[in-house]
């Protein structure tokens, strides 16, 4: 603030405050000292002027600011924190399906609690009158033991009013958010559930806080109508075949989007924290599609055939003797399912149609175990599969990939695969041979095909062979006119006590539609299904359960998914003429 003014008499520059300097300087300036002593009234006046102008300046600022605030109150910058905290937006986003149908939302409710009641017995009596679910004695004990007791979550306006009028003064109400799962059990394994105060505990709900999705609403790849049909048909199947459980999945073969994923038994995420016993909870929340690892049986033969054709170890005109003995133990020959052996040599397509174990074992022996392992790895079957949710399983790989393992794996035993990764592998086989990465987020059918795992011509041959299975083989009950469904059935023994047999079986059907240019892959499986003679189900093999269930699902969902319907179109081997069709 050094205000400079001039001493007119002596033409010397004097700076205000210089007189104070004399107290701090060891060497006194005799010239300035004499000036100060001579002109002290003049300096005092200068100081007053300085102080006056400073005050006037500061107060002018105050007045200006106050006037502007008084005249333009709307210009108050910043909203008090207390108001911000009361904003109406839910802290967790809403979840929609691929068609913008609401799956999960949050609503504000109230939680009633009580703090330090004066008379616990009287308080419990009054509370019991308005909240009848409370046991009075239990409430008294709680009130006597604790200083803070939560009375009820999600209370309605009527309950709120009743509690206020009950005469209990110590009651408190806290606003809380609650997740509502609008479709109850539908897609519950994918969506997951949340606990108190919107804390996600499984599925997509659990991944939300850890991803960058917290700020915007989420569109899943799930189509809720397709999901309903998938779950409904599997539920009907479980009842009809008296199966222990069942699961199904529908995947887009181009984008990898999971259109529907069902694992039954299932649960209602709205009441999962209240209405399930420990065992029920464990069974219901287990996601078989993504967490399970199963031997799916003969559906694996698709992989064996694809591997051999890609390796050029065989071609479709090669033939295999279905009657020879392939030793898998000291004195045991490998058997075909139901000992159904072909009387004459058969080609690879017939091998698949007849679901011959012996044939597949021979093919695997030609290719070799190292190539088998690397092909399955390439197809994604041996990966610990990564998906956007935490609940993912890993394959059960034999400790030693021996020759015996190679043989059993060729027809679908001895290797546990995660159903989702298997369905993705099949999608990669039928979509022209490109690896896909399954996703739970909507990509609007964007092409997400990755690197090639088999050539286009091998993919076409496989589609042709799979079509023959549905037309002339064990998949006949999944053949829905107009879609030329392609697929393969599988019936695998469930291992127990270290061996196979006597513990029931797991049946599966994996297919794709429309057969001429597959858009979707479907996988359906039942655990321990039984024959139901009264309802026309003669046996417990996949032909009788997984096949027809898959067929029903395709019939219902194909029109919803806008899949082209054409009764005249067929799956043909257009380019590759080396195959003699008449051998079939």
């Amino acid at each position: 603030m050094g205000k400079i003014f001039k001493n007119k008499l002596k033409k010397t520059k004097i700076i205000a405050g210089d007189d104070l300097g004399v107290f701090f300087k060891s060497e006194k300036n005799s010239h300035q000292e004499s000036y100060v002593s001579r002109n002290s009234p003049h300096i005092s006046k200068e100081r007053i002027h300085l102080a006056k102008f400073s005050f006037i300046f500061i107060f002018s600022l105050f007045i200006l600011k106050s006037t502007s605030l008084a005249l333009f109150p709307g210009d108050i910058r910043g909203i008090p924190r207390s108001i911000v905290s009361k904003t109406v937006k839910s802290p967790v986003p809403e979840i929609f399906d691929r068609n913008n149908k609401l799956l999960v939302t949050s609503v504000r409710t109230k939680r009633a609690s009580i703090r330090n009641p004066v008379n616990p017995i009287e308080t419990a009596r009054l509370i019991k009158a308005v909240l009848p679910l409370w046991d009075e004695e239990r409430l008294v004990k709680k009130l006597e033991k604790r200083s803070y007791v939560e009375l009820a979550d999600d209370i309605s306006d009527v309950e709120h009013y009743d509690i206020l009028n009950s005469g209990v003064a110590e009651v408190e109400f806290h606003p809380v958010w609650r997740r509502i799962y609008t479709n109850k059990e539908l897609a519950s394994h994918v969506i997951g559930y949340s606990g108190r105060d919107l804390v996600g505990l499984s599925g997509i709900e659990k991944t939300i806080p850890k991803s960058k999705l917290l700020q915007k609403d989420i569109n899943l790849s799930i189509d809720i109508t397709v999901q309903f049909h998938l779950e409904d048909e599997i539920k009907k199947g479980i009842d009809l075949y008296n199966a222990d459980s069942g699961f199904g999945i529908v995947i887009d073969v181009i984008s990898g989007e999971i259109i529907a994923s069902a694992s039954l038994p299932t649960f209602d995420p709205n009441i999962i924290n209240k209405n399930y016993s420990k065992d029920e909870f464990k069974k219901a929340t287990f996601n078989q599609v993504m967490q399970g690892s199963y031997e799916l049986g003969s559906v694996m033969k698709i992989m064996t055939l694809a591997m051999a054709l890609e390796d050029k170890s065989i071609n479709l005109n090669d033939t295999f003797d279905d009657t020879i003995c392939i030793k898998i133990a000291a004195n045991r020959c490998l058997k075909n399912y139901n000992n159904d052996n072909a009387s004459k040599p058969i080609n690879p397509v017939e091998c698949l149609v007849r679901s011959s174990n012996r044939c597949m074992a021979q093919i695997a022996q030609i290719v070799g175990r190292s190539k088998q392992k690397s092909f399955l790895q390439e197809a994604g079957l041996l990966d610990e599969y990564f998906l956007e949710i935490f609940e993912t399983g890993s394959p059960l790989i034999p400790e030693k990939w021996s020759d015996n393992s190679m043989i059993t794996i060729s027809f679908g035993q001895g290797l546990g695969v995660v159903p989702l990764s298997f369905a993705s592998g099949v999608a990669s086989i039928v979509n022209g041979g490109y690896r896909i990465k399954p996703t739970l987020y909507s990509l609007n059918k964007r092409d997400q095909r990755g690197h090639s795992i088999i050539r286009e011509e091998v993919s076409e041959k496989l589609r042709y062979a799979m079509r023959q299975v549905v037309k002339n083989g064990s998949g006949a009950q999944a053949d829905i006119p107009g879609y030329a469904v392609i697929g393969k059935t599988g019936t695998a023994d469930i291992p127990c006590n270290g061996s196979y047999g006597g513990c029931g079986n797991r049946t599966a059907f994996v297919g794709a539609f429309p057969g001429w240019e597959p858009q979707y892959v479907i996988l359906v499986s039942f655990e321990r299904p039984k024959a139901n003679i009264n309802k026309g189900v003669k046996r417990n093999s996949s032909y009788w359960n997984a096949g027809p269930t898959a067929g029903n699902i395709i019939r219902l969902i194909a029109p919803i998914l806008n899949v082209e319907y054409d009764e005249k179109k067929e799956v043909e081997l257009s380019t590759y003429s080396e195959f003699k069709k008449e051998t079939l």
Partner: protein, 94 residues
């Protein structure tokens, strides 16, 4: 002169205090109004959310299926069939 200055300073102080009181009162008033509006918005949004949720629950596929089964005899509803859908190729339109 100095006295005038001191009095004017005092007057300024008093007027500042008064105007600050008026402004702070006005701010409190506006804040209260804002809170009330927020509460109303919150209530309405919650109501809208509940209605939206209620609508989704009522029109969920499972519920529609139950309704369809219940009134099958009169409505004769059945799932869409592929052959009832005509696919028009872009080339055909051109």
């Amino acid at each position: 002169m100095f006295k005038v200055f001191v009095y004017s300073l005092l007057l300024t102080f008093i007027s500042l205090i008064v105007s600050n009181q008026i402004i702070s009162h006005e701010i409190k008033n506006q804040t209260r109004k804002l809170n009330n509006i927020n509460a109303v918005i919150q209530h309405e949004e919650n109501k809208e959310n509940l209605l939206k949720t209620d609508w989704v629950v009522r029109t969920s596929p499972a519920r529609l299926k139950i309704l369809s089964d219940k009134h099958r005899s009169t409505l004769k509803l059945s799932p869409a069939k592929g052959k009832n859908i005509k696919f028009i190729k872009l080339e055909e339109i051109r």
